[in-house]
Symmetry: C2
Subunit: 108 residues, 2 copies
DNA sequence: ATCACATTTCGTCATTTGTCGAAATATAAA
DNA sequence: TTTATATTTCGACAAATGACGAAATGTGAT
């Protein structure tokens, strides 16, 4: 029950849902995510912590950045992420457009 | 996005998850739910309001009681409820056992 | 119409949550 | 090793949330 609750809570926040939506497109670093969501670095970092704790994302170093990306090794998480993909929403679509163009070398 | 968020928030609370789990077995009234969850009547009522507002449950009068039951007319809700059914959890299983036996005439 | 009782609403309270800026940490580059 | 910079942690704060009991509401039965 706790695993399920963590996932629901993690995806029950608009900022985190937007982050997960963007990460379904490609891995991103904190700076890039911040550029699109608009919150402070520490706030983004906190959201990522909650998503990581719910087993939804994980991270890997790439040069001087940390790339966050969706996990694909948990069946329940996969099913829920599939539902996220089916959401039809203007904000989420805008975010994807911006995420495509965002380039860390310009903003970090 | 809002519809999705409401569902996630609604199911991100242990009491509400337990309620939904029980309602997947059979319709129940506030008194019966209260008997198993243990919170006050007003607390249960509030949880039901949140679940109703997320389109997860609805209600119908039956004699002097109001029976709450899961909705089956929303595709997204159905998919999420399917995930709930797959949760393997002691507390949820206990609740189902109790829900089978609970009888409103004895407690209301 | 009144009564009994199932349910909801209201006001209040403690806890949790999302947010921020500043400070701390970590690490790649000079 | 020092510097620059990407990220996290910390402490504080306002807002949201879950809980309660009491009062209000609604409704079937007498």
């Amino acid at each position: 029950m706790n695993k399920f609750l963590k996932i629901m809570k993690a995806l029950g926040d608009p900022s985190r849902l937007r982050i997960v939506n963007m990460l379904s497109l490609k891995p991103m670093c904190v700076c890039e995510i911040r550029q699109i969501i608009g919150s402070s670095m520490s706030t983004i970092s906190n959201h990522l912590k909650i998503l990581r704790n719910a087993n939804i994302i994980t991270s890997e170093k790439e040069e001087r950045f940390i790339n966050y990306h969706l996990r694909t090794d948990d069946e329940l998480v996969n099913k829920v992420l599939h539902l996220v993909k089916d959401i039809s929403d203007k904000q989420l679509q805008k975010d994807l457009q911006k995420a495509k163009k965002v380039d860390r070398v310009n903003i970090c």
